[in-house]
Symmetry: C2
Subunit: 237 residues, 2 copies
């Protein structure tokens, strides 16, 4: 079994993706050796990178690398430029349109980097925790994009042109946040280690989730719907 590369942001979805890859998620694949890749892109919520380290260690990734690329050089997003993160938006607003937290071409860039590492490692799968259900506003989380990326990646690489094609695996793409949380639970991922908040609050050297950005709202509602106790420490609580 060739190893797999897993994109690991430190958020909930990528942690569950890594846990499922390592366990060999039943219907999907056998247990795999996983190389976790995080990207330090100058994100406002850099705490997620610390979370990624903890998650990789807890779950037992074979190796965890963080590559730096400063997307603040381009800006254009509330996550990489001096633009306010929206707060307290109702659910129907969150679901509509491309949000200001969209980072131009982010998944295109991240999957390209993961493809590069996969090619060097001889890995034939890249796992990514994109999800098209709860947060449909990001164009680069849709299956159409993922399928097209896979074709392009195989045309771009020596591996792809020499018959060692790379597959982009998206175990969460059709799951609700509640389903993802349940799957994480099943795979013994410690979700208290993950970080989702776009705009965390630091209090006495302690990182708290704001509880009000879109990402907190979706996470909170996911735990509620899954019937799993929410381990997140919120600033407002």
């Amino acid at each position: 079994m060739s190893p797999v590369v897993v994109l690991l942001s430190g958020g909930l979805d990528s942690a569950v993706t890594l846990a499922a890859a390592l366990r060999g998620d039943h219907a999907r694949s056998a247990p795999r050796e996983a190389f976790a890749l995080s990207i330090d892109y100058g994100q406002r919520h850099r705490h997620e990178l610390t979370a990624a380290q903890r998650v990789a260690r807890q779950l037992g990734a074979r190796e965890h690398r963080t590559v730096r690329i400063d997307l603040r050089a381009f800006g254009g997003s509330a996550l990489t430029a001096d633009i306010d993160v929206p707060k307290d938006r109702p659910a129907h607003d969150i679901a509509r349109g491309v949000p200001i937290t969209y980072v131009p071409a982010r998944n295109l860039i991240f999957l390209s980097l993961a493809t590069a590492w996969a090619e060097v490692l001889g890995a034939q799968e890249v796992h990514v925790g994109v999800n098209a259900v709860d947060y449909s506003g990001y164009p680069d989380c849709r299956r159409e994009f993922i399928d097209s990326f896979q074709r392009t990646a195989n045309l771009a690489t020596q591996a792809g042109t020499e018959g060692r094609a790379i597959r982009i695996v998206t175990p969460l793409i059709d799951l609700s946040k509640a389903d993802i949380i349940r799957l994480g639970h099943e795979c013994r991922a410690d979700l208290s280690l993950t970080h989702s908040c776009y705009d965390p609050v630091i209090r006495n050297d302690h990182v708290l989730a704001c509880g009000r950005c879109d990402s907190c709202a979706i996470r909170r509602e996911g735990f509620r719907a899954a019937g799993v106790p929410d381990p997140t420490e919120y600033a407002g609580a």
Copy 2:
């Protein structure tokens, strides 16, 4: 006319691509405002980045940015790992197979970054000096890859999904090195500012081309075939 983003390595091909975009290469497009993007990826021949600055200034790019991303984190190429650059290879060897100077997924990564900047700028074209004639071993220089990348980039981005599609423009893709050199001459690109050598020699603080790597061999032969005096300073000469 929307501006364009041009990938500028500091080599000959990308300099001619920038010159052609700024002039508005006759059959291809009207004169454009050009934003030049260079990538510092930990390449062995970092001198090309200094060359890129000189080229952007000489040709009059509206802006020139260099983004850092250390692909040595992955290795796997003679340009980013401790692997010798091949020397003195005969032309028929250079033309065959994927060379050890291939950098895994490089053009996939670079075009993804250029797409991100284009989206933020509202630019609808990314120009790249890939060429499938002289050096056919790089899978990510073929038209099939470029066409597939364009489709993927438009699925990945807000621009693409909202009808401001991005086009990947490859003015050199079918030209020989001699044709490229002639085009550069026509466009008044000062080719003496460009750097092609993969393994330059420093002599008295002066950067000289080795004259023996594949890139030097192709460049040298291109000037000869174009009937244009070669301004390159070679170490062996």
